[in-house]
Symmetry: C2
Subunit: 524 residues, 2 copies
């Protein structure tokens, strides 16, 4: 049975109160130091998701009671009051009273998060009945999420937390959610809500599969006809401003936005607004009227792709661009090549060259490419450093071994296709996947940079995305964040039930895990 959820932090009310009082007091310096906890206990871990590396709590209850509110930065902190990411995180999490906060932030605080961002974090919360002090060392506010999970609201309305200290860092640096805005358009509101939920689960990559066969909602500045003609309608479009909104909202939550412009297959919608970009298919040497993948034998294709990816590499600040490359129907390409003056032996060359040219393009833009596993399977030469994403479930551990043996970094999504649904408690299956359970050297294991839970859009839109994604994706979140040994299902159940109710209380319509209730569920 689901437990009563945590009392929801009444942020808006407190925020208003604080604004009225004008309380923003910079506190005295408190340097980085190790925690000294008088007694050690792990009894309150039942509220945490994902489980941190080390949590020490004592039975001492600290009252975060109404009254003065202290919210500030250490003068010795490299991150000052100008560190907007932290300011925002405080606004979201820390609107509690009588709470003195000291922070040491990573100097890259306000920059975009990256695969090399230091996500290790620590906090120490101590004090007495009159005074609570929180010392945070953190570049992405991850420890503030953890701290917020340890806060209780008593029936009296008082917020309390046990004296506690956490030291934490993620197991994998790439922890993503894939959303698909081509099969169904997702309103910006839904994407931002997803980013909220991602932050609650310490995910750090939004893999935005933004275009596909069905529609092209990305409004390109260079090629506006792509969305003018290729979107479902002119109100099913992401304007440059929409894209900026998503990227900025993500940045404030320590989340990277990884754009995927899948090619050369999955591009039917591209052909509507861009002449000659697709390969005309032939039937018995006559054009059949249908189109195949991106046409690799025209110069215009490369000129178009170069300009488009140039724009994309500017619009999306992330170091990575996902180029897709999955499920290419080669049949049409071969047929077409038969009708061109190209000599037969040039055929495979044209295909390979096509992909290589694009990979080189991305490389020249100082970006790193991510591709689906077929590109590794089909092509001999992948630019070194290209990341391969494994999505086919069958024998995926074998595939991990092969790709890492060839020296390529890899992202796993094969066991985590959350759009595939079934009756009952399927989260345990996602939870018990061990990403590194393949034969390989430590160097090979090191090449597994993380994984992604994918919620493809064939049967998913704004009406059902959130309950279908959460808390099932939370299982993946803990697998990618927490230690390899965190596999106790019974313990995970207890914590996930609470975590799910906490998400519900925070406005995320996460579906139930089993019969029961949450204390705060009326807002759904």
């Amino acid at each position: 049975m689901e437990q009563r959820g945590l009392g929801r932090l009444r942020l808006p009310g407190l925020l208003a109160l604080l604004a009225a009082l004008g309380v923003l007091v910079v506190q005295a310096a408190l340097g980085r130091r190790r925690a000294q906890t008088p007694r050690i206990s792990a009894s309150r871990n039942q509220n945490l998701w994902p489980l941190p590396v080390t949590v020490r709590t004592t039975p001492r209850l600290l009252y975060l009671s109404p009254g003065n509110f202290f919210f500030g930065h250490s003068p010795t902190s490299k991150a000052g009051p100008s560190c907007a990411v932290l300011q925002e995180a405080f606004r979201r999490k820390m609107e509690l009273q009588k709470l003195e906060v000291s922070v040491i932030m990573d100097p890259e605080c306000d920059s975009f998060p990256s695969i090399t961002s230091d996500e290790s974090c620590e906090y120490l919360c101590h004090g007495n009945r009159l005074f609570t002090k929180l010392l945070v060392t953190d570049s992405r506010a991850r420890s503030l999420e953890t701290f917020s999970q340890l806060i209780y609201q008593h029936s009296s309305g008082t917020f309390t937390a046990n004296e506690s200290n956490i030291v934490d860092s993620p197991r994998f640096p790439h922890r993503g959610i894939l959303i698909d805005t081509s099969r169904h358009f997702l309103p910006i509101k839904t994407i931002l809500k997803t980013l909220d939920a991602m932050a609650f689960n310490k995910f750090n990559v939004l893999h935005w599969h933004i275009v596909d066969d069905q529609s092209f909602p990305y409004q390109s500045i260079t090629f506006p006809e792509l969305s003018n003609k290729g979107s479902y309608s002119l109100s099913h479009v992401y304007t440059p401003n929409d894209v900026r909104t998503v990227i900025e909202y993500a940045r404030f939550r320590g989340i990277r936005v990884l754009p995927e412009f899948d090619s050369p297959g999955h591009t039917a919608s591209w052909g509507k607004g861009q002449k000659d970009v697709l390969t005309p298919c032939y039937h018995s040497r006559e054009p059949s009227g249908t189109f195949g993948p991106i046409n690799p034998i025209l110069n215009s294709t490369y000129s178009f792709l170069s300009k488009l990816f140039k724009e994309i590499s500017t619009v999306f600040p992330d170091k990575f661009i996902h180029l897709g490359g999955d499920e290419v129907d080669f049949h049409c390409w071969y047929e077409t090549l038969l009708t061109t003056p190209l000599h037969p032996f040039l055929k495979p060359l044209a295909l390979e060259v096509g992909v290589e040219v694009v990979l080189d393009m991305i490389s020249a833009m100082k970006k790193t490419s991510i591709v689906w596993q077929e590109v590794f399977d089909d092509e001999g030469k992948l630019t070194p450093g290209t990341v391969v994403q494994v999505w086919k479930k069958r024998n995926f551990h074998m595939k991990l071994r092969k790709i890492t043996a060839a020296g390529f970094p890899v992202i796993i999504s094969a066991p985590w296709y959350l759009d595939l649904i079934s009756y009952g408690e399927d989260w345990t299956g996602y939870y018990l996947v061990e990403p590194l359970n393949f034969a390989g050297t430590p160097e090979q294991k090191q090449l597994v940079i993380g994984g992604e839970a994918c919620i493809w859009g064939e049967y998913v839109d704004a009406t059902n995305l959130t309950p279908r994604l959460w808390p099932r994706a939370s299982a993946v979140g803990e697998r990618l964040w927490s230690h390899q040994d965190v596999t106790d299902l019974e313990d995970a159940y207890r914590r996930l039930i609470r975590h799910r109710c906490r998400m519900v209380g925070r406005g995320i319509a996460a579906q139930p895990l089993l019969p029961g209730y949450c204390e705060h569920e009326g807002r759904m």
Copy 2:
């Protein structure tokens, strides 16, 4: 690809306008008459769900343009302005301008809907460019729903409808949705939203499985401890006022509320607030500390049940009460009986008598009982007229044959357990079920009074109920309303896609059927 949805009727805006103008004009009498349509066409059926018996439309477009609004009753109509059900239905559907409406309503208009309510309906919508006249013969506003499905909003904002005439009636009188508020509590808002969606799909029974093992949210006036102790929490309770709200909201939509108080199994939550009502289980002749079904050998049980069902029969106006009777664990009963002074030969008698006594109770209250199929299987003597609900999918057509051969009316839900989910387009499976596809006489077929789509609550609450239920339940809705021959999947696809978008436009978060979009989906 999903089509653009219909323009949503801007009800709130129009309502405000009408209130400002004070336009409520009673029109001249127009008697009941048969439609005379100048030309016949079925081209606009693609907007209708479920498909009516007869639809005749002509290409003539009638403009429902801004300006005067005529909204009234025929003086010869048996239903006058006092018929609140119709007034409300008009408010919901007919806030269109320049629309003259004449209505002949069933004299039972404002009474509670019942299994014998005449649901046949007809309307004729004709006129010219300046004037539109709608003649309605209808007791439950079903034809107004149909008419609203034929209204288009042009890009100019003007509402139009083709000249049209429908004559309609349902195939089965019992068309239900089962909701389960015990495994998870559903807020009243969610239940009302479900009633809205039911009306859009011409369902007429809300089967409210209100209590079960997990919780007892029904606040009894006679036995308040049942919910005080047996609910998840005191905020997870349906007060008498909540129940009245649901019944009244349903009545205005021509929907019956059928309460189910499942016993003697599925009653664990009853034991928390009512002493001795459950059978104590024994292990090796010692009490095991656990409890089984309702205790059939204590007089206090029958006195309690009699008072409880007396209250229920008053609170819920429907002629039927669902008594459950499924999945009873007889083991505990037998064990207990071994420890009582009852002679072994009395054991089966006690069990049978228990059920019979309750059935007789309900009968004495002038109500009809509905029971799950196990009661038919396990018991020799069922009170004649007791309705049997078939829920086990395996060989359910065989079971229908047996039950109807024994002369009992039957409700089918076996093939329509919508809480069981799978990837992809499972609605077609629900759609293609033929309820009367069993060997039996016409009299037996006549005993099939309808069916129910069930959305059991183990994994369903307010976060995911609506998208999981709709439009999958719409498939069941058409099966139970429309003619047996309406089985063309391609045609159903076209109509259901539009119907789904229409529901989305009306604020029902019905999930998508396949890749595509709706014109109005931003509100989700």
